[in-house]
């Protein structure tokens, strides 16, 4: 390779002081060779994948169990002989620590160092590697919780794009399911979110969706500090309690995430004498039940997971629970994150199947175009439209006596707006 000698010679000179121009010129000779064949991580017998999840974070959020979910699904697939003769070599998941920069590093490590074919599952609210994966044409599957990922060519959310951008259709299932549970959608509703722009966007979307379903919106507040829950909830709760013509609303929808915010909010609501329905998207989490105070706070709350709950007895869920127990031990406590990992892996496998024997990233992404798949475990998904829209499926779980009770099976509704 004579060109090597030329290059190093130039660089010695440049290091001795030739300067910027020489450096850049030399560098230019190299750029052509980047890019791969698109079959990284693929052999005749295996396809290599790994995930990125938020295992640890400063605020205590963790989606680490998504790794177990994906592993359980891949283990069953491998036991059944793999897809087109290839078994899935699952390397586990990297931790992005809920930090954008760590997420980029993790993505780069998986792609450039571990040579994975695809990244499965991704369950990280602040994942920073999206742009990099897209740029490198590496497919990734997971929980699309961030609007920035919607519409990326290589990003696949198993339940679509959860937070459509303004102007896109919005989901109606939450309001519809809650209306069905409460026996009508003619009540008044208060929507509470935190004081950040992302939370505000979410709250506006949910408000519109409840209004579209017939509820009367009596208040939308984004005043709660996001960094830490308020040390005192009284002023926030007072507003709720007077919102419906001086009285409390029929339904309170919390778009805040996590028990720290929600638990405090609900406790204060109940302390103020609130008797109506409360619903949120994040309380379907068995860890919440460890604390008697949270149990008291969440009693009667409707959690709205976008998956068929573990409490269901449909065959797909029975199968998932068996797979999870096999991978994670008999005394496993199921959590929503396990299910998201599991279904992300499931959709990936389905797409592998559709791609066929000749597996390259190019072929895979081609197969993704016009892909559609239904499964009672998570509903239905079709690309490309679910790259920019949510799938519109969800269930309701009621918290009762320190446990979860299935209130409404997963059902899919047409998006509105």
């Amino acid at each position: 390779m004579p060109s090597f000698r030329l290059r190093s010679g130039m660089f010695f000179k440049s290091a001795a002081g030739i300067g910027l121009a020489a450096l850049l010129a030399a560098c230019a000779t190299e750029t052509a060779s980047s890019g791969g064949s698109g079959s990284q991580g693929v052999t005749d017998k295996t396809v290599k994948v790994a995930g990125i999840v938020t295992e640890t974070s400063a605020i205590g959020y963790s989606s680490a169990e998504a790794e177990l979910g994906a592993r359980a699904r891949f283990e069953r697939a491998n036991a059944e002989g793999g897809v087109h003769g290839r078994t899935v070599e699952f390397l586990g998941a990297e931790d992005d620590a809920m930090t954008s920069a760590t997420g980029v590093t993790a993505a780069r490590r998986l792609v450039d160092k571990e040579d994975v074919f695809a990244v499965v599952p991704v369950s990280a609210p602040a994942f920073g590697g999206a742009e990099y994966l897209d740029q490198q044409k590496v497919p990734w599957f997971g929980w699309m919780t961030n609007p920035a990922w919607c519409g990326l060519s290589t990003a696949f959310g198993f339940n679509g794009c959860l937070t459509p951008q303004r102007g896109e259709k919005i989901p109606s299932w939450w309001a519809a399911q809650l209306g069905a549970e409460l026996g009508g959608t003619d009540g008044s509703v208060w929507v509470q979110s935190t004081d950040t722009s992302s939370s505000k966007i979410g709250a506006e979307m949910i408000s519109r969706s409840f209004e579209a379903s017939g509820f009367e919106l009596v208040g939308l507040s984004s005043s709660v500090p996001a960094a830490a829950p308020p040390q005192d909830w009284l002023p926030y709760v007072n507003k709720v309690m007077e919102s419906d013509g001086g009285g409390p609303p029929d339904v309170v929808v919390s778009v805040m995430s996590g028990t720290k915010h929600n638990g405090g909010f609900y406790t204060a609501l109940k302390k103020a004498g609130y008797k109506g329905a409360i619903t949120d998207a994040t309380s379907y989490d068995p860890k919440v039940m460890a604390d008697p105070q949270s149990v008291a706070a969440l009693e009667g709350v409707y959690a709205a997971p976008q998956l068929e709950p573990f409490e269901s007895d449909i065959p797909e869920i029975v199968q998932m629970k068996a797979d999870l127990r096999k991978a994670g031990g008999g005394d496993l406590v199921f959590s929503q994150h396990m299910a998201t990992g599991y279904w992300a892996a499931d959709v990936f496998l389905k797409m592998l199947e559709k791609t066929g024997k000749d597996l390259t990233r190019e072929n895979f992404l081609r197969a993704a175009d016009g892909f559609s798949y239904e499964n009672p475990g998570f509903g239905r998904v079709a690309y490309p439209q679910n790259k920019t829209q949510p799938t519109g499926c969800g269930a309701l779980v009621r918290i009762k006596g320190g446990g979860f009770e299935l209130a409404r099976h997963l059902e899919c509704f047409d998006n509105v707006g």
Binding site: G60, S221, S223, A228, P229
Partner: protein, 915 residues
């Protein structure tokens, strides 16, 4: 009305927690001079322990609470005192700030890592701190609620308020009613004087840290059921309590406490009635931050050392100055060359990517070199500058502007932000400035970046790769080359800055702001220049961060990132670009190495944080350490030689204090220690032998020999700068001797610290007034006269003081202050009394009174050393007179031998010629 009362009442509950936390902050700052940014982290660790003991180990709260607060709190405080705070109190301000910021990162990670470790290695099943694992409080579960007249309170609130009130009462009693509290307050008021009055300041510091940590622990355990085990929430708590502390001017615990209560109420009122703020996202979240900022600007003009000329943060010597230029440049020339060769031959994409990321950090870290390394100001807003510039570029690109123009706009935006941050810097110094930059950084995060149009909501802005015509930055190699070039450019810029006139101006402003002003250097312009340059560099780094990532969002570089950056770069050495480059590499390679061993993210945080702590030992960073050690050995050798030379020269001075046969023709001093009676027990109370001492590298005393006998007054005279005050301080133990000895009643006390010499009977009335201005007359006396009977005796002797016993000593007249300073000596006569210019600024009548008092003490058998610049008054009193000049006693003899001629020649230096 009920609603308002409800807001106020429940606001007072949270306010009480802020108040406790703020009081701890004020207490430790005032006692030790270290502002503990990790105060919230201490609370977090205590709360974590409480959580694990209750939820994990199943202990009842009435055991777990006291263990987490009264055992773990003081223990943690003491450990921190031993490992870092003790050293930090004498370190430069930058090191102080950065070390506690490192601790803020490391402490929570240590706690969480310890749980992982216990679970992983010892097979325990302690609950992890996941979002769902809400922590409980001290109160019963489930919470009970009561309603009085339409106002609802729950058991947690009631317990929080009761505990806070009891703690406050206990704190008040401790500070006001116990000797421990008195000693701490004395140390706060005048640290050196406290030492002179027998207070072991080091012990007082340890006690303050233990007490402060306990307060943080109480606050942590009280607030944890509300905010959860979230280290970020505890950081927010720290800001709020820092706001309270700032309103207490970091000195007054009662004001801090009141401010804390008020903040709690105010926060509730804004949340309850501040609907007008609904449209500006984040503005209500930012209320404490806004108040902190306002408080800093209004209340905390830096009044430290306005007249002082000692650099707060003197630059270290250039340890490599003796090496040739090419040798100094060699590592920084060769390593990029090696890097480039590796990159274009065998380097693989992944590692090149890692290096490019490291160089990007290095570029950003260069901004710290400018503002902290050169300017000596600690800025926590760098991450905000980077984000601001990147978002501006993103916005500009989305409007269709060309990249070049967008880049200029972005950097300009960061520079403007730099000016905004610099404005408070003009008035504030040190940690107050750091707090202000932090407040601004949070404000940017919580308000500015929340503006939808600016950050494009949560989507962020796409940032296309930079094309250089023949290559673009999607290739990591292009990035490496581009970054190397930029760092070299910034390095040149920094070097030119340091060597230029403005560089000297900067150094002048940093070392001695007032002096710089006097000679016409504009501190304002200099500080602004530095901030703008630093902000621009950080902004450039931020833009490249976005470009390399393909996207910039408002949350990519949160304010807390700035903490880690600062800790890393300062540990590597913030004064040179080399340190920044090393820091950048450290930033990316440490996680890579750690990844081989562990998946735990805590280890990285612990390591980065502990790096900050290591600063307590090596304030100038890793890079200069080896060179520094060589330099130290060289210094020690020089010092030894100097001392030997001094000793050789000073064979005579030992005789000097005795009848000076070598000097005055008729010198026979009335000297109780007879020249011939060495075998007899020495009848000398204080003796300095060949004392060499000084400050830093400046030697002031060059072999002082002096003897003061019991029942004798020695007047030490000399011109300004002769070393009289230093002699006093050396005798009292404040200034340590390099060589020589101090003997007290014949016993060698050279190694004893000041407070123990005070205990052994040395009483120094220092220059100025030897009183604690912040303590009452009674308290001033109580420090030296603990029993009421002897205080009564003092009041008998000085009835003027008796009427004013509850008045702060600072409010007394000069004469009264001097009397107060000497009063303890009247009641409990010391063995040796040293008075440094006791007549300075006093009316002649008062001077007479003071000298009468000295006379009385002499009659009682005390040994007195009285220093005066003007000879007239003291000559009437003295038995022996000693003249000092240029750090030596050049003449001593009986007072009778002193006449005008001798005085004149002594002051004019003629006596030296006589030797």
């Amino acid at each position: 009305m009920t609603e308002l009362i409800g807001y106020i009442l429940s606001g007072l509950v949270t306010g009480a927690v802020f108040a406790l936390m703020g009081s701890g902050l004020t207490l430790t700052y005032a006692t030790t001079g270290v502002f503990n940014f990790a105060h919230g982290a201490v609370g977090f660790v205590a709360a974590l322990l409480f959580f694990e003991l209750t939820v994990g180990a199943g202990w009842p709260t009435w055991i777990a609470g006291p263990v987490a607060v009264a055992v773990a709190g003081p223990l943690l405080g003491y450990l921190l005192h031993l490992t870092m705070f003790r050293r930090l109190s004498s370190a430069g301000e930058t090191a102080q700030i950065v070390a506690t910021i490192g601790l803020t990162i490391a402490l929570p990670a240590l706690g969480l890592g310890a749980i992982d470790l216990l679970n992983g290695v010892f097979g325990l099943s302690l609950p992890g701190v996941t979002e769902g694992g809400a922590a409980r409080g001290l109160g019963p579960r489930p919470v009970e609620t009561w309603e009085f007249a339409g106002i609802t309170l729950d058991s947690d609130q009631l317990i929080a308020f009761t505990v806070a009130a009891l703690t406050a009462a206990a704190l008040w009693a401790l500070m006001r009613r116990t000797p421990l509290g008195l000693r701490m307050r004395a140390a706060v008021d005048r640290r050196t004087l406290a030492e002179l009055r027998g207070v072991d300041v080091d012990r007082a510091s340890a006690q303050a840290w233990m007490l402060g940590s306990t307060l943080a622990a109480v606050a942590g355990v009280l607030i944890v059921p509300v905010v959860g085990l979230d280290s970020a929430a505890f950081l927010v708590l720290l800001f709020t309590s820092a706001t309270a502390a700032v309103f207490g001017r970091l000195a007054s615990i009662p004001v801090t406490f009141a401010a804390g209560l008020a903040l709690g109420v105010l926060q509730n009122l804004v949340a309850g009635y501040g609907d007008f703020a609904q449209d500006v996202t984040g503005i209500r979240t930012a209320v404490p931050v806004l108040l902190l900022f306002a408080g800093l600007l209004v209340l905390n003009r830096s009044r430290d050392r306005v007249a002082g000329s000692i650099a707060e943060d003197p630059p270290p010597p250039d340890y490599l100055a003796d090496l040739p230029r090419w040798r100094r440049a060699l590592p920084w020339g060769v390593s990029p060359a090696v890097l480039l060769v590796w990159m274009f031959t065998i380097g693989d994409t992944y590692w090149i990517g890692v290096v490019s990321q490291g160089l990007l950090f290095a570029l950003i870290f260069c901004s710290f070199v400018v503002v902290t390394g050169i300017g000596g100001m600690v800025n926590l807003a760098q991450a905000a500058f980077a984000t601001l510039a990147a978002l501006t570029v993103g916005l500009a690109l989305s409007k269709g502007l060309p990249f070049g123009l967008a880049l200029v706009l972005g950097i300009a935006a960061a520079a403007v932000a730099g000016v905004v941050v610099a404005l408070p810097a003009l008035r504030l110094g040190g940690k107050v400035l750091t707090l202000a930059t932090l407040a601004l950084a949070l404000l940017a995060d919580q308000v500015l970046f929340q503006i939808d149009g600016f950050g494009n909501g949560t989507l962020g802005w796409q940032m296309p790769a930079i094309s250089l015509g023949f290559a673009d930055t999607n290739d990591p190699r292009t990035r490496v080359v581009l970054l190397l070039a930029l760092i070299a450019l910034v390095g040149l810029l920094i070097r030119n800055l340091e060597r230029s006139a403005s560089g000297r101006a900067i150094l002048a402003v940093r070392s001695a702001p007032s002096a710089a002003q006097v000679i016409g250097i504009s501190a304002t312009r200099t500080k602004i220049t530095l901030f703008v340059m630093s902000a621009a560099i950080a902004g450039l780094g931020g833009v490249l961060f976005g470009v390399f990532n393909g996207l910039i969002t408002t949350t990519d570089l949160p304010a807390a990132t700035g903490f880690v950056w600062l800790a890393v770069v300062v540990v590597q050495g913030v004064r040179r670009v080399g340190g920044a480059v090393l820091g950048g590499m450290f930033m990316v390679f440490v996680p890579e190495v750690l990844h081989l061993f562990t998946d735990s993210q805590h280890v990285g945080s612990i390591l980065f944080g502990l790096g900050g702590i290591a600063l307590a030992m090596h304030p100038d960073g890793v890079l200069s350490q080896a060179a520094e050690q060589r330099y130290r050995r060289r210094r020690e050798r020089e010092q030894r030689e100097l001392a030997q030379a001094a000793a050789a020269q000073d064979v005579a001075p030992l005789d000097l204090a005795r009848p000076s046969k070598t000097e005055g023709p008729s010198a026979t001093v009335r000297e109780p220690s007879p020249a011939t009676g060495e075998e007899r027990a020495p009848v000398e109370a204080l003796r300095l032998e060949g004392a060499v001492a000084g400050y830093g590298d400046t030697t002031v005393l060059r072999g002082v020999d002096l003897v003061v006998a019991p029942g004798q007054v020695v007047a030490l005279l000399g011109a300004n700068g002769a070393g009289k005050s230093t002699t006093c301080l050396a005798a009292a133990g404040i200034v340590p001797l390099t060589t020589g000895r101090v003997r007290l009643d014949g016993a060698d006390v050279t190694a004893l610290p000041a407070h123990r010499r005070a205990g052994a009977g040395v009483f120094l009335a220092p220059e100025g007034r030897g009183v604690f201005p912040g303590l009452t007359v009674e308290e001033n006396l109580a420090l030296r006269l603990p029993d009421a009977a002897s205080r009564a005796e003092a009041y008998d002797r000085l009835p003027a003081l008796a009427d004013r016993r509850t008045i702060a000593a600072g409010a007394l007249s000069g004469g009264e202050q001097q009397m107060l300073a000497l009063a303890p000596a009247l009641v409990r006569p010391p063995r040796v009394l040293i008075a440094d210019e006791p007549s300075l600024g006093l009316a002649p009548r008062v001077v007479d009174q003071v000298f009468e008092l000295f006379d009385e003490l002499r009659s009682g058998g005390a040994a007195l050393l009285v220093v005066e610049e003007k000879a007239t008054g003291v000559l009437a009193l003295a038995d022996t007179v000693a003249f000092m000049r240029l750090g030596r006693v050049v003449w001593s003899g009986a007072r009778a031998e002193v006449d005008d001629d001798l005085l004149t020649s002594a002051y004019l230096g003629a006596l030296e010629g006589a030797r």
